[in-house]
Symmetry: C2
Subunit: 245 residues, 2 copies
Amino acid sequence: MPAAPWTEGEFVERLRTEGQRRYHDQHPFHELMHEGGLRREQLQAWTLNRFYYQTRIPIKDAIILAKTEDARFRRIWIERVRDHDGREEDGADGGLELWLRLAEAVGLARAEVASLERVLPGVRFACDAYVTLCRESPLVVAVASSLTEMFAPDLMSKRIAAWERHYPWVGSEALAYFRGRVPRARRDGEFGLAFVVEHARSRELQTACVAALVKKAQILWHLVDSVALATGGPTAVVPGALHAP
Amino acid sequence: MPAAPWTEGEFVERLRTEGQRRYHDQHPFHELMHEGGLRREQLQAWTLNRFYYQTRIPIKDAIILAKTEDARFRRIWIERVRDHDGREEDGADGGLELWLRLAEAVGLARAEVASLERVLPGVRFACDAYVTLCRESPLVVAVASSLTEMFAPDLMSKRIAAWERHYPWVGSEALAYFRGRVPRARRDGEFGLAFVVEHARSRELQTACVAALVKKAQILWHLVDSVALATGGPTAVVPGALHAP
């Protein structure tokens, strides 16, 4: 007999716990970033490599859009794609454009970042795993993988304060992407959580949702870990990994 | 006007050069393995994590099988799947079974290895990238990604000698998988190379084949690098990576 589904409260608690304990805000490279301890080249490497992640977001969100017949869901979810790609009527300054400006502000050449040529292999594998996860999962599981957004607003707020204080040479205006993410991640995280709770009704689906969120947290962690390793920063095994003996 | 295709000689030279310079035999963790410098737990971690790669092989080869209408190609290629899964008439001792025996010989619990539960996230991302690469590429490009086999026989021979000499406690019989791979990798590498040369006739396809081989070499490298990082072994950025500034 299949296990009974978790109650809504149990399910939400499990998503929060398993996601939060692996969230990359606890990675020592991020901690060092927030303490002002990163060298300029480390900040550059992080910005360049993280841009690859940013470019995967509208792709995975388009994959999610294509998974449903529900126009109402699509009308809401499509805003995520537009957040990153920009909206024609606003002069098209989306998240990708803002990130490229951030890259320039940390001293990178825009074209080099946009080319994606210098992205570390480990970063590429991790970010591509996110796209594959969304492609191969049912809708509700793909949505669950986005729920790291529940933890993003706090990290963004901390990052903005830390950059303004410790890396003033970047310039406050360049942090526009982070600022925009605070309310958006909150809005998206709430919508995503409500959707997942409503649609993952069997224990099997609930378990798959938790597993997808865990994998997504590992992806974010691996991105930072790869940047840290390549730039002489502190690395760490992702919390909760049942790693090799 | 599209660039003219490389001649057969130029193309093969490029595949060999770009593959060889990134091949994981040069990873410092492998070098340490061959010098006898790995601790037992490091050998165990390598064996456990590499098993995840082994389990991806029949899957990616089945994906390749499904890409062609050519029954002759499939008759030859299917032997790769059978090499790993075993053949009913031979008592089903394929490469996966031999690897599990190797795992036992290095002191791991068979069930734990087979469960794949302790595989490092970075190893999983890299190996899954191999499956995705094969899934999303045209046949000839997917075949090209297998051409690291051109370099495998030398590495296998070196590994067998090194393990017999430096890790005699593992037992010579447990190295059966490596021994079987020497002639098979040679056979498979030659077939693959001939196929790629015959079917990649445009510069565009040739370039895609080289890129697939490069990516595959990065995947193998990242696997070893992740194991090294998690076990306090030596890590290194993959040669030729245009990594972050």
